[in-house]
């Protein structure tokens, strides 16, 4: 992933193609309308395929060809993934699809449309906005609003805290273990996996908060992308709370068409598997991402199949009479399932992922005191306490709004909170590892 100036031409080309096709879709009916939609989808997917997936599929075809003794010799491309490609292509695709479905009028102003695709706070890693939410905001008059600016700065501050203090610190241990998993077994593998669950959450939600905060300062409202996903009590709830803009994109533009109008359970399961497989592959050209996607698809299918059985178990064991305990158990189970999926997401290869999964409890007692994990005990403690702090803050923000929690306090209390956060970032931030995980997608 990189910013290479000449690649701006790709962005310009995609903007011009979708801008033109959306207008043509709106002006036409029937087959021509569909044709223009298909052209848009093909052009977008072609660019994605060339830059992101060609080498992956080429390498796999080459291996397959070698196995079946077929002479296949197309060499790989030396292309670097343009920054934000996966995100702005999906954003512009959603615009064209919404125009096709008649839910959005085509934007006639090329400048405004370009801004919709290239809006800088969310260009690189989302949230993937819908035209109904974002386009009209470019026509609104935005004046300096003190409360909005403070709210935006506060959101950015929280995002920086999650990224620099929590995510980047946890990354040190995660990278030490996951870049050389066969040197570890037992507790370090479990700790690294749990840490990764929070690293990726803090990294990505931190980025989203910075993006949303920057947009809010200018008076723009971007959609929420995370809603305390690790408090989910089911896999379907997890996917309503994690990377909301992407999961809703797949739900509306892939899952719903696949389901069609006649719902059958087989079609439902098939659609879920396909959607999550595609979602996995969207994240990266590697079998680890495909397996991660399939795993989550499988989780959903199994959760549907076992719903009745699980309800019966809850009734029989009396769990249903203790909703708090029942909910805690569900949250823990969903967190564990998510962590098992993160093993594939983070592992460098499928082999590494299987090694980790099969060695989580090997030499467990002996591995408890392994100190060669890249972080000192103090840093591990700092990491754990900042995770707890983050969970508590986001839990209370979800229960009560930030306005209730902070804005109604006296000025000196608010300033102490802000100063403490900024000082925590400056003192405890890890500044050597500042790339965002989702920038690579």
């Amino acid at each position: 992933m990189s910013f290479i100036p000449v690649y701006i031409l790709i962005l310009v080309a995609l903007i011009l193609i979708d801008y033109t096709l959306a207008i043509l879709i709106d002006k036409n009916q029937g087959k021509k309308r569909t044709l223009f939609l298909v052209l848009s989808i093909i052009s977008t997917c072609l660019v994605l395929f060339i830059f992101k997936y060609f080498n992956f599929f080429n390498a796999n075809f080459t291996e397959l060809a070698t196995l079946i003794h077929w002479n296949y010799s197309i060499s790989s491309l030396s292309l670097i993934l343009p920054i934000g490609l996966s995100f702005h292509t999906f954003q512009s695709l959603s615009y064209v699809i919404e125009v096709f479905l008649g839910r959005q009028k085509p934007e006639k102003n090329l400048g405004i449309y370009s801004l919709y695709v290239m809006f800088y706070p969310q260009l690189v890693a989302g949230p993937i906005e819908r035209p109904q939410n974002l386009l009209h905001q470019f026509y609104e008059h935005h004046k300096f609003d003190y409360a909005q600016v403070i709210s935006g700065l506060r959101l950015m501050l929280w995002g920086f805290f999650k990224k620099v203090v929590i995510a980047d610190r946890l990354a040190v241990l995660v990278n030490t273990v996951y870049n050389d998993p066969t040197s570890h077994s037992g507790f370090p593998l479990i700790l690294a996996t749990v840490f990764f669950a929070f690293q990726i959450y803090c990294d990505f939600s931190g980025y989203t908060d910075i993006a949303r905060g920057a947009a809010r300062i200018m008076g723009f409202r971007l959609m929420k992308n995370f809603d305390n996903p690790y408090f989910s009590k089911s896999i379907s709830e997890f996917w309503n709370r994690w990377h909301i803009s992407l999961s809703s994109w797949f739900r509306d533009y892939l899952y719903t068409p696949l389901i069609g109008k006649r719902l059958s359970m087989k079609r439902l399961y098939f659609s879920l598997i396909i959607v999550f497989l595609v979602s996995g592959i969207w994240h990266g050209a590697n079998w680890t991402f495909a397996i991660w996607g399939l795993l989550h698809g499988g989780y959903l299918v199994i959760s549907i199949l076992t719903q009745n059985a699980r309800n019966k178990v809850a009734d029989k064991t009396g769990l249903s009479k203790h909703p708090l305990l029942h909910n805690i158990l569900k949250i823990v189970i969903i967190f564990i399932l998510a962590c098992l999926g993160w093993v594939f997401f983070r592992a460098n290869t499928v082999t590494d992922a299987f090694y980790i999964l099969t060695h989580l409890f090997t030499n467990f007692k002996a591995s408890l005191f392994n100190t060669n994990l890249g972080l000192t005990y103090i840093e591990v403690f700092l990491g754990l306490s900042s995770i707890v702090f983050m969970i508590l803050v986001e839990y209370f923000i979800a229960k009560k709004s930030v306005e209730t929690l902070i804005d109604k306090r006296a000025l000196w209390i608010r300033w102490i909170i802000y100063i403490l956060l900024i000082v925590a970032i400056l003192l405890f931030g890890v500044f050597n590892n500042t790339k965002f995980i989702y920038f690579q997608f």
Binding site: F144, I150, I378, W415, V423, L427, G429, N432
Partner: protein, 326 residues
């Protein structure tokens, strides 16, 4: 300007002033309680005090190198000597340190002792965290541009880290720091190789130095040449030292197929292009039967440092006498 904007600007300025005061206060507390106790900082202060005390502005015997030298040479046993070595120092840092001493501080050096150990040219000494560990002190003898080009950090970042060393190191405020004794640059090592898990120690150290690393890095070779040239231009007598390591460390190198003869052939053939006017003191195997001289598999403790320094001094005196006789 709207009322909202004026209100924001006024409050923002006031807030930033308070934030700056709080941050500068914490930074000063860090400098007093943590930064001033760091080895690099203390060594720099000791060096500055030492050269101020020199009447004839001459250091007769100056030792440069990594922690092998830092722990292994006790200047108490050689008159008019100073230990300028520091942890994870490569020839990159040695060159700039020597340049500062000779050209900025205008200190004359008679004999310069340079390290020639197995890990000296390893690319491990050039990893970002090594080049330049103690970054905050390097601005004393390198420009920001030089530091930036070697450490792959931006100049603003280097500036910030130099002047606000608390950035990213707040956790050290909560650690109790027991400064190790430093005498004329020598760091006293009171550890014992006899009491630790030697196999684990050797594995860790050899892994650290050589696993997935280049044995001879081109950048280090380049600065090695520059250092030797600088010494030659200033008429310094050049002495290379191969410092003692434990038998186990050497055995581990052999097990991993690291060929010492080949390694030194490459270094010396490169060196001979610049000068043949040098001496090599080889003590690598001298302490194979003295595990009690080591703090770990490749660092001498204070006892070993005393013995080695006396051996070097004896060698020097013998040579000086021989030269006088001739």
């Amino acid at each position: 300007m709207s009322e909202d904007t004026k209100k924001f600007v006024k409050k923002a300025v006031f807030f930033l002033i308070i934030l700056a005061i709080v941050f500068l206060l914490i930074n000063q507390i860090y400098i007093n309680n943590v930064f001033s106790k760091k080895q690099g900082t203390r060594k720099e202060v000791i060096y500055q005090d030492y050269i101020k005390s020199l009447q004839n502005k001459t250091i007769a015997y100056a030792f440069f190198g990594s922690s092998h030298v830092r722990d292994g040479i006790d200047p108490m046993y050689i008159n008019s000597s100073f230990n300028l070595a520091s942890s994870a120092e490569s020839y990159v840092q040695t060159y700039y340190k020597l340049n500062r001493t000779l050209n900025k501080d205008k200190i004359k050096i008679d004999y310069i002792f340079l390290e020639l150990d197995m890990h000296t040219f390893s690319s491990i000494l050039l990893r970002d965290s090594s080049v330049l560990a103690d970054l905050e002190n390097y601005h004393n003898y390198m420009t920001y541009q030089q530091i930036a080009s070697l450490s792959h950090k931006s100049i603003p970042e280097i500036f910030l880290r130099t002047h606000f060393p608390v950035l990213g190191d707040g956790k050290s405020l909560f650690k109790k720091i027991e400064p190790t004794p430093i005498y004329l640059g020598w760091t006293e090592n009171n550890n014992s190789f006899l009491t630790i898990n030697r196999t684990e120690d050797v594995q860790e150290r050899v892994d650290l130095h050589f696993k997935d690393q280049e044995l001879i890095s081109n950048l280090t070779l380049e600065y090695f040449q520059k250092t030797v040239l600088l010494a030659k231009e200033n008429n310094l007598t050049i002495i290379f030292v191969k410092y003692p390591t434990s038998k186990e460390y050497n055995q581990e190198l052999a097990k991993r197929g690291i060929n010492k003869t080949q390694y030194y052939n490459i270094i010396l053939s490169d060196l001979n292009k610049t000068t043949r006017n040098y001496k090599i003191l080889d003590y690598q195997e001298s302490f194979f039967n003295h595990e009690d001289y080591f703090g770990d598999c490749d660092h001498l403790n204070s006892k070993g440092a005393e013995v080695l320094t006396k051996m070097i001094y004896q060698n020097l005196t013998l040579n000086t006498n021989n030269n006088k006789n001739h």
